[in-house]
């Protein structure tokens, strides 16, 4: 079963960390992902650029509008994702709980439907 783990965090909290702490969090996340990949549980993962770089696109009645920023202003922002393939939700919860950002952010675990393309 595939799950998309959406990592939400307050970017301000992250920015407030001293740079060596930020680096160690990032290193820890990298090596955790490598471990998952070796175990065959990780399909893809990436951190995202800050939310200020986001653009939201909508098409209504044939007309495209693009707006600056995320689709919704929230206290915590989407900061990255992991796409994993594990037997069940309990495994997905275990993996999410061990991801470093879970200690200061939140991870939304969403089961993926079987109908996806290009995999």
């Amino acid at each position: 079963m595939k799950y998309l783990c959406l990592v939400y965090l307050e970017e301000q909290i992250l920015h407030a960390f001293p740079s060596d702490k930020r680096r160690s969090i990032s290193d820890e996340a990298m090596s955790y992902c490598e471990k998952l990949q070796k175990a065959g549980q990780l399909l893809a993962a990436s951190p995202l650029h800050p939310v200020e770089t986001a653009t939201t696109v909508r098409v209504r009645e044939g007309k495209t509008t693009t707006t600056d920023g995320p689709f919704a202003e929230t206290k915590e922002q989407l900061g990255g994702f992991l796409m994993i393939d594990v037997p069940d939700l309990n495994d997905a919860i275990r993996i999410a709980a061990q991801f470093p950002a879970a200690k200061f952010g939140s991870i939304e675990v969403r089961p993926m439907k079987d109908l996806g393309c290009a995999d």
Partner: protein, 417 residues
């Protein structure tokens, strides 16, 4: 003669349904991997039983018979529907290959199935209200109407919660399993909280009008007994003891006209001694383990009350000591409030009032009616009439339950006189 035998069998089938249907369901969910398919298979297997047993007699192991009949019916049904939906044929083949008929007879598996069902209904990925509804529906076999009545809501609301929970179990793939030892304490906490919520819903509302809610406490105790039988962990034992000891006081908690009677004024001869004896035995058992948790500690406090002939002759020093331990295990302002009340009983109301005032000054209990009621009572005992009145008024403004409101109003009118 034959008719009589058939009627006898009917009664037996009813009895088997009452005693075994949840266990059969629990195993069918494991075998079929789906709540709704299992529910349907359960109904079908009982329909076959109703038809065959009066004629052929009741099989030696009715539960195993029901499980294998249900499994067979489910696979057969998939085959029939496979004409319209070919993926069902694959599923039927898969089920036939991966589940054997003998797995229905394996007692160890079957015992685990009930635990699997409980842990799945109480999975932390489900909302608490969904956990409650699922547990009462699937484990206790209450109807959605009964659950709705108990929680003063509409049957459609409960039905919707159950449908959504089942959809999440299926779509997010919540596994049907007993958690591994490393996760057991945390997962068991969730299960115990659900059981205790069911109990309290029936207990604190019991001085209302409806008997159904007392049934809810009975249901929680039955659940507690089942858990104890399947998984005799110390806190399971402690919670069962706590529920029995609280339940023992039910006949004394309300007067004939439905008014609330406080612990110190209760007629202790009304307390249910059978439940007390059983509860105390469970407390002792839980205390003999090395891991003593909050339910066991609360049960120990209830046991000290249960053993005391009157409020004055209660071992308040022991109760304060137990609250001290409880606060270390589970710090909470409500436990601090209860401890302050126990200290007032041990050292006098002035000492208790001092502690309650400190707690109220912290602000966490400012909206908790019982904190103001406790303060009012201490002031009343100290002869501080005006302060008592103002605290009773604050408590009354926050209290929601009718019997509690009547009690506070009565106290207020006594102070006015």
């Amino acid at each position: 003669m034959e008719d009589e035998a058939a009627i006898g069998t009917d009664i037996k089938v009813d009895e088997i349904y009452r005693n075994e249907s949840r266990q059969v369901l629990a195993t069918l969910i494991r075998l079929l991997g789906d709540f709704d398919a299992a529910e349907e298979a359960l109904q079908e297997s009982f329909a076959v039983a109703m038809e065959q047993w009066p004629r052929d007699g009741i099989p030696a192991n009715p539960r195993a018979w029901l499980v294998s009949t249900g499994r067979f019916k489910a696979i057969d049904g998939m085959r029939r529907r496979a004409r319209y939906n070919t993926s069902l044929n694959e599923l039927a083949k898969h089920l036939e290959a991966t589940t054997s008929d003998s797995s229905a007879r394996d007692d160890e598996h079957v015992e685990d199935d009930r635990l699997r069902l409980i842990f799945t209904c109480c999975h932390q990925a489900l909302a608490e209200e969904a956990q409650l509804a699922m547990t009462l529906r699937e484990v206790c076999n209450l109807t959605t109407e009964e659950i709705a009545r108990a929680f003063l809501t509409k049957p459609a609301t409960i039905a919707q919660r159950i449908v959504r929970a089942k959809a999440k179990i299926r779509d997010a793939r919540i596994p049907y399993e007993v958690p591994p030892p490393s996760e057991l304490p945390e997962r068991l906490d969730t299960v115990l909280r659900v059981v205790y919520l069911v109990f309290n819903e029936g207990y604190s509302a019991s001085f209302g009008t409806s008997l159904t809610r007392a049934d809810l406490s009975g249901e929680a105790i039955r659940l507690g007994r089942l858990l104890f039988q399947l998984l005799p962990e110390p806190e399971v034992t402690g919670l069962l003891a706590l529920m029995l000891l609280h339940e023992s006081r039910r006949p004394a908690r309300t007067s004939a006209n439905g008014d609330l009677v406080l612990l110190e004024q209760q007629d202790r001869s009304l307390w249910n001694q059978t439940q007390i004896t059983e509860g105390i035995a469970f407390v002792e058992r839980a205390l003999s383990s090395k891991r003593i948790g909050p339910y066991t500690l609360q049960a120990s406090i209830a046991a000290v009350h249960a053993e005391a002939p009157s409020a004055e002759q209660t071992d308040w020093a022991q109760i304060v000591a137990l609250y001290d331990v409880l606060l270390r295990v589970e710090p909470s302002p409500i436990i601090q409030l209860n401890r302050a009340v126990a200290i007032a009983m041990r050292d006098g109301p002035a000492k208790g009032l001092e502690l309650v005032d400190v707690l109220l000054a912290h602000g966490e209990l400012a909206q908790y009616h019982l904190a103001h009621a406790a303060r009012a009572d201490l002031c009343r005992r100290l002869g501080k009439k005006a302060e008592a009145r103002s605290s009773y008024e604050q408590a009354l403004a926050l209290a929601k339950q009718e019997p509690e409101r009547r009690f506070l109003e009565k106290r207020l009118s006594e102070l006015a006189g």
